[in-house]
């Protein structure tokens, strides 16, 4: 059958079903394949906070969204173009995100009375005309796979569980994507169970053929791809990127790696990955709590390890005292905070950017430390290595902020050549004249001597210490000097970090300043409006303390500054305090990233306002 082929620059698809329907897997395979063909990919897994909610319920819906294409793929997408809904509840929950005239593929098998009721539908939406604004394809996946696999020898339950693979095959056809990548994966994954592998391969192909042969589908899409640089690629989440980067940073510093951590959503995966790296000699401790996470890392750092601790908001709150100790000990330490919606337990599975204040100011006494923020899942890799570099070079704890969205969503990543990543120079002190708090004149970092080296035995601690010698001291002027030195050391990092990059032009009507995971949404909005002819400027901050040294002069040039944040305006406040320039704070605190359309609208609104 000949079909119309529509060429698109980018498209968003969402697989939605019950927690048990395998939607996370389906989504991640789809995203692998779309990256495999050379598309930019941005994904977002969206699953219930309950471990396993009862079947068919609204709060038990699990979904996975993939935005892919050649252009503007900075976020998982505002609106969905294609929704695959496996049951009534997933339809109900996800339909609001489907764009008008969007494609809706429904597995009719689950539209039973019981499920409709669980989803709180009064009438069957497949029949009551409520879906008339969409292109609806009703398919009984369960029946089809039953037919296909009737001779497979698999149990009915096993057969039913392949229905997501059927959906995958069908959507591959719809977007003209190759099956190879997924076939390869199935063979590897079920290598030891050939009958299961065979069944899945069969169903995958059947899904594809169903599209090809069935009259239902009059249109097919082809997504344009970018010509990617040569190299080895994969998809990666922010959390995995952090874990890998820690290993790489340790390698580059030629130090053993130690992670002290305590499980917490949405940071736990960092611990899981690190724990799985035992073959690479990585050391880790699941401590009894977050205090133990950070303080065990301090112990390891004293011993000469590249030490890190990973957590999310409530855990960061518990690490506050330990961080103060790390500041005064002046030992390198990487603290990764995968932010989630607070305060307190808040909404554990939802993202937020509200830990900037605590990162900057959340220690008793004067205890400044560098704060970095990653902007995309792959940037998590780069910024983790940067955190390690700064921690070691300046002998200081560093907080790296990511968030639940960055941690769990993925994008395609060109795996870096290890040699292309600069070494992180470390030199343990081994001369006999060791003075623990003697500082490098440029960086103000003290030098690092570790146990095991004869003759350099020394003690460090949380009490104020004498400049240079490190001997405990209560001398008033010495205290002031030390407080100022510690602050100045952090300020000097400014000389060692890249300038902020300005997108757009310096004489634009509006400067947008973002940080962290707002990058995707802002960039998409910025690009769209710039293309439409608006004069905009955009700076995305990855260094929050200290700020890049050119930031002040950039800010000076603009009258209108917009700062979108997923908090009540934390960066906005800090910018004002620092640069004494009014900024327009735009906040969204809904456990979700900004839609790029929201940013777009806000920009337009601000541009239309008189004055500021």
């Amino acid at each position: 059958m000949e079909r119309d082929v529509i060429y698109l620059e980018d498209v968003t698809i969402r697989f939605a079903g019950d927690s048990g329907d395998g939607m996370q897997l389906t989504g991640s395979k789809f995203s692998d394949t779309s990256a495999f063909i050379g598309a930019d990919v941005s994904t977002f897994p969206d699953y219930p906070s309950e471990v396993r909610a009862p079947e068919g319920t609204l709060y038990g819906v699990s979904a996975y969204q993939i935005h892919f294409g050649s252009k503007g793929v900075y976020t998982p997408g505002d609106k969905i173009d294609v929704l695959v809904a496996m049951n009534p509840a997933s339809l109900k929950v996800n339909l609001p995100f489907l764009r008008e005239k969007g494609i809706l593929i429904v597995n009719t098998a689950n539209f039973t009375e019981k499920n409709l009721k669980l989803a709180k539908y009064e009438t069957n939406p497949l029949e009551d005309g409520s879906l008339k604004n969409y292109q609806v394809f009703k398919i009984n996946f369960n029946e089809i796979v039953k037919e296909i696999l009737k001779d497979s020898g698999l149990s009915p339950k096993q057969i039913e569980r392949t229905k997501n693979i059927f959906a995958l095959g069908l959507t591959y056809w719809l977007f003209d994507l190759p099956l190879t990548e997924t076939e390869h994966w199935i063979k590897k994954k079920f290598g030891k169970k050939p009958e299961i592998a065979e069944a899945n391969l069969k169903v995958l192909r059947a899904g594809y053929e169903f599209g090809e042969t069935n009259e239902l589908f009059a249109i097919r899409y082809r997504i344009s791809t970018k010509k990617l640089e040569p190299g080895v690629y994969r998809n990666i989440t922010g959390n995995e990127a952090v874990a890998l980067a820690l290993v790489v940073a340790a390698k580059k510093a030629n130090l053993p790696l130690f992670l002290g951590s305590y499980p917490i959503t949405p940071a736990s995966e960092i611990l899981h990955y690190i724990a799985s790296y035992k073959p690479y000699g990585v050391l880790h401790l699941q401590a009894e709590d977050e205090i133990g996470g950070v303080t065990s890392a301090i112990g390891a750092a004293y011993g000469g390890a590249l030490a890190a601790t990973s957590t999310s908001g409530p855990g960061l709150s518990l690490k506050v005292e330990g961080l103060g100790l790390a500041v005064i000990l002046e030992l390198p330490l990487i603290v990764v905070d995968v932010q989630r919606a607070g305060p307190s337990t808040g909404m554990p599975t939802k993202m937020e950017q509200s830990d900037l204040f605590i990162s900057m100011f959340g220690r008793h006494g004067e205890a400044p430390l560098p704060v970095l923020a990653a902007s995309t899942p792959t940037d998590c890799f780069d910024m983790t290595i940067e955190a390690a570099r700064i921690a070691i070079k300046y002998m200081t704890p560093v907080i790296l902020l990511t968030d639940g969205y960055l941690g769990q969503s993925s994008e395609e990543w060109k795996i870096p050549d290890l040699d292309s990543i600069p070494e992180i120079p470390v030199e343990f002190y081994t001369k006999p004249d060791y003075l623990p708090y003697k500082r490098d004149p440029i960086t103000l970092a003290r030098s690092w001597a570790i146990p095991g080296y004869p003759g350099l035995e020394h003690r460090i601690g949380g009490l104020e210490k004498e400049d240079v010698t490190g001997v405990i001291s209560q001398d008033p002027l010495n205290h002031q000097r030390m407080v100022e030195l510690r602050a100045e050391k952090i300020n000097r990092i400014q000389q060692d970090i890249p300038d902020a990059e300005l997108f757009g032009s310096e004489d634009a009507d509006l400067l947008i300043i973002g940080w962290g995971s707002t990058y995707g949404s802002i960039k998409a909005a910025f690009d769209r409006l710039t293309e439409k002819g608006y004069k905009l400027a955009y700076v995305h901050l990855k260094y929050l303390n200290p700020f890049p040294k050119n930031l002040g002069s950039i800010i000076e040039k603009f009258d209108k500054i917009l700062v979108p944040e997923n908090n009540l305006g934390q960066l906005a406040f800090i910018l004002q305090g620092k640069f004494l320039k009014p900024v327009i704070s735009y906040h969204k605190i809904q456990g979700r990233i900004f839609l790029s359309s929201e940013i777009e609208n806000k920009i337009l609104e601000v541009l239309n306002q008189k004055g500021r």
Binding site: G38, E181, N235, V247, P279, A287, S296, P451, P454, G461
Partner: protein
């Protein structure tokens, strides 16, 4: 793969490993009150360390906050004066990163058992190779006299002016209940006993916990006199010795016998009971260790000192090393390049 740390580890000691106690004295002036029990502990530790045949640079002393926690400053070894309650877990991180070191923790009753209680019980259960010396003076001294988790029931302190209503912890029982493989008790006034215990702790492979009664002359003077002073200790204390029956008393004329499950004092003088009826101490018997520990606050029984338990089981650091080795052996390619690629990757040419 040798890291920079391995290179440090491989550095040879400056000279032969022959030390005098003074080699472990740091230049810092000791600033405890005169008469403080901690002085005795400091000098026994310095003596014992000198005899352990371990290069000085391989010792690390980690402490929290308290009078006792000033200890590392006085030791010419590596060390961290940490934050209140966290000594054990800081030391845990250090020991995991550096199993080659001999890591000692010095902590007070407040530091170890109040704010630091959780780290303590977890380190004990992990059997990580730390030597934890609890300086038990039954009071918060550095902060000038508040109630501690080992303060006697009923005692007035600054924070319990009407008397302490918290039942005190029995640190030995807590350590046993948490799985500590080596558990002992000694006191400031008997240098020889303390040296013996510290040496055993120093040589123990695994978590070694030593409770040391230390007299705070300022805020809790004489709290342990009954058990530690030359006049009364023979009647009120019992020294546990492996393989020996539990005998005590000024004339060695009393013993401890198990009546049902209850340890009971019997006289060896009146002919009713003989040495053969007494409990014979066995450091390797965990159940007996509990029974002996449980004698602690019983006013009808002498207070036991010595090694309650000394058993061997794989240490945390050994288990980690083993796990890494096995994982390496099972993994065909342990290059970071391969790690970065993950399960699913593709190449663009």
């Amino acid at each position: 793969m040798t890291t920079l740390v391995d290179k440090i580890i491989q550095t040879k000691p400056i000279s032969a490993i022959e030390y005098a106690p003074k080699d472990f004295k740091s230049p810092l002036e000791v600033r405890w009150c005169s008469g403080c029990g901690d002085y005795s502990i400091l000098s026994q530790v310095q003596k014992v360390l000198a005899g352990l045949k371990i290069p000085r640079e391989q010792f690390a002393f980690i402490s929290g906050i308290g009078c006792s926690s000033r200890f590392p400053y006085y030791m010419q070894t590596y060390g961290i004066h940490g934050i209140h309650g966290r000594a054990v877990i800081i030391a845990t991180g250090l020991k995991i990163a550096r199993p080659d070191l001999s890591v000692w923790v010095v902590t007070g009753d407040g530091d170890c058992l109040s704010i630091g209680g959780n780290h303590f019980i977890h380190a004990a259960r992990r059997n990580i190779g730390l030597k934890v010396l609890l300086f038990n003076n039954g009071i918060y001294s550095l902060t000038k006299g508040q109630v501690a988790p080992t303060t006697q029931f009923g005692s007035p302190t600054k924070s319990t002016p009407y008397g302490n209503i918290d039942y005190p912890f029995n640190p030995v029982a807590l350590a046993l209940g948490s799985g500590s493989s080596f558990v002992a008790r000694t006191f400031d006034r008997d240098p020889k006993h303390m040296q013996y215990i510290l040496e055993r702790a120093g040589r123990h492979n695994g978590f070694a916990f030593v409770e040391i009664y230390s007299n705070c002359v300022i805020y809790n003077d004489g709290a342990y006199d009954l058990f530690t002073s030359a006049e009364t200790r023979k009647e009120h204390s019992i020294m546990l010795e492996h393989g020996k029956p539990l005998i005590f008393g000024t004339n060695n004329d009393k013993g401890i016998r198990l009546d049902g499950f209850t340890p009971t004092v019997v006289s060896l003088a009146d002919g009713k009971w003989s040495v053969n009826d007494l409990i014979v101490h066995n450091e390797q018997d965990s159940t007996l260790a509990f029974i002996l520990a449980n004698m602690t606050y019983n006013p009808e029984l002498p207070r036991p000192f010595g090694i309650f338990q000394a058993i061997q089981k794989p240490t945390y650091e050994e288990l980690i090393a083993k796990q890494i080795e096995e994982a390496k052996a099972k993994t065909p390619d342990t290059s970071i390049e391969t790690l970065l690629k993950g399960d699913s990757y593709w190449e663009i040419k």
